[in-house]
């Protein structure tokens, strides 16, 4: 299978700090790839290199190749069109202080879509795609800030879907949510991978085991192990991976 993202020899420095060390990973399409590891291991930093959100930080120097469908995202693509193709969902649900409808229509509007009919269609499809349509269809004009945390997070997923990406990056998308909302998001990921490629940072080992196809274990900026999730959780190759997933540290 042709990989979606092909990352090789990626090094990232925050000023003096060497945050990612020679990271090489292939992320396959229509899979959920989980990135696990203790805090500060570089998994979120790695995630943000995939849609160049690190560009927004001061003093970040990146070296190496990040290819999306064979094109280098740092050398051959601009950050704006990259981010339209690679959507992102954040740890804290962050809907804009606008109506539910306006939140979802934000991405398409940025891309210049003005037709009301077209926007309505995109918004409905995105909300259905994020499994929240039934809950909000009668209150599309109401502010998104009135939704519960779990609903807000699914709205943020809908907002990302509406921009028409083919990859979704999720940075600990359930860590601020209750168990019921968490399981809804997890089900949603399994559903969404049919159409999208998902890369998810998670602190929760069970979550990685439940929903991901492949798992990468990060430690101190390095990828220690990257393999099939079933294999990693049943027979980790590296002693450090085993220690981490059995809860001996981290």
């Amino acid at each position: 299978m042709e990989s979606k993202f092909e990352v090789s020899k990626l090094n990232l420095h925050y000023g003096q700090f060497h945050a990612l060390k020679d990271v090489s990973l292939s992320i396959l399409p229509h899979e959920v790839t989980a990135l696990i590891g203790p805090s500060g291991c570089g998994k979120s930093t790695f995630l943000k290199t995939l849609n160049r959100m690190n560009d927004l930080e001061e003093g970040v120097v990146i070296d190496g190749d990040v290819l999306l469908d064979g094109k280098d995202v740092y050398k051959e693509m601009d950050a704006i069109s990259l981010r339209q193709r690679v959507g992102m969902v954040f740890q804290q649900p962050n809907p804009f202080p606008k109506s539910i409808y306006e939140n979802v229509a934000y991405g398409p509007k940025l891309q210049g879509i003005r037709s009301k009919v077209k926007l309505d269609e995109i918004v409905e499809n995105a909300l259905r795609g994020a499994a929240i349509w039934d809950e909000v269809k009668d209150r599309l004009k109401k502010s998104a800030l009135g939704l519960s945390g779990g609903q807000q997070q699914r709205l943020c997923i809908a907002r990302a879907l509406a921009a028409g990406p083919d990859v979704l990056l999720m940075d600990e998308p359930t860590s601020a949510l209750d168990p019921i909302s968490t399981s809804k998001i997890e089900e949603l990921c399994t559903e969404l991978k049919k159409d999208y490629t998902i890369v998810m940072v998670t602190h929760n080992m069970q979550q990685a085991a439940r929903i991901s196809d492949r798992t990468a274990f990060f430690l101190l900026g390095e990828v220690i192990e990257y393999s099939d999730t079933d294999q990693m959780f049943s027979m980790p190759k590296d002693k450090r991976t085993e220690d981490y997933i059995t809860g001996r540290f981290g």
Partner: protein
């Protein structure tokens, strides 16, 4: 045990002190408003409300018109300055210096600003007293207020808004224009209310800019004519100046009554404006936050 008792007693006393201070100021405000409005009504004669040379209708109109003109200058410029400081200026010596300059601007004595306005907008331009130069002069005073509230509002926005917007492929400007500024609007509006309040009451900065005379012909709608109400380049005495002029020059036997009545009208105008703007702001906020 004993320490707890003492702490509780101090706590009760402090609560009372704060309630008393707050109560004192509320009473002071009410008494003040009643006194000003009461005295205004006491000396009231129907002719005072007329839009003629004797009434204060023209001054009332000039005041509102001047506020509109001043906000026309200071709102766009103030918001732009605030956005620049919050979003574009690199933190450093230059930005810091700029911030100090802006703060200093707001604490300039208004008579100095008035004389500056006179030199620049009247003498250098070679014009006579006019409303635009008055508006420009008071803009110098209220621009910092709008710039600072905008900057503070922008800086208090959650990082998630910015990240969410950029993550969807928005540019920096799109993020500011479509997410951050609308979200800041209720707070910026508060700054604008304060700024407008300053214009309503300003007198010294207008003495030598907007001028102390007013001659309006309400049937003349040729905007280039010096007596057309809407001509922004005509002299326009405001209510605050009219109070001062009536009290100092006493050109009429009932000048004191006119001054009192003008004060009452000005007070009511300011109250009405600030309540109206607050209602608008609260409605905006509720719309953003999604009330029940």
């Amino acid at each position: 045990m004993k320490a707890n008792e003492k702490a509780k007693r101090v706590d009760r006393v402090m609560t009372w002190i704060f309630v008393a201070v707050a109560g004192f100021f509320i009473l002071l405000l009410i008494a003040f408003a009643l006194l000003v409005i009461g005295r205004g009504i006491a000396g009231f004669e129907p002719y005072m409300l007329s839009f003629t040379r004797d009434g204060i209708g023209n001054q009332l109109f000039n005041t509102v018109y001047l506020v509109v003109l001043a906000l026309l200058f200071s709102v766009p410029l103030g918001i732009a300055t605030g956005v620049y400081l919050a979003e574009y200026a690199k933190p450093g010596k230059v930005t810091h210096f700029l911030s100090i300059c802006i703060e200093t601007l707001s604490s300039l004595p208004s008579i100095v600003v008035g004389l500056f306005g006179y030199l620049v907008f009247i003498v250098m331009v070679g014009a006579q007293w006019n409303l635009v130069s008055g508006a420009l002069a008071v803009s110098i005073l209220n621009l910092p207020l709008i710039a600072t509230t905008t900057k503070d509002a922008m800086e208090s926005m959650p990082k998630g808004y910015r990240m969410g917007s950029m993550g969807l492929g928005a540019t920096h400007w799109q993020t500011i224009r479509r997410v951050l500024l609308p979200a800041c609007m209720p707070r910026i509006l508060t700054g604008i209310i304060l700024a407008a309040g300053r214009v309503f009451g300003e007198a010294a900065a207008l003495l030598y800019t907007a001028g102390m005379s007013t001659d309006i012909n309400w049937s003349n709608w040729d905007i280039t004519s010096p007596t057309c109400p809407l001509n922004p380049f005509r002299p326009g005495e405001t209510l605050a100046l009219h109070i001062w002029a009536s009290r100092t020059e006493a050109i009429r036997p009932d000048a004191a009554q006119i001054a009192n009545f003008s004060s009452a009208v000005l007070l009511i105008l300011v109250f009405a404006f600030s309540i109206g703007a607050r209602v608008l702001g609260r409605r905006m906020e509720r719309k953003l936050a999604g009330g029940k």
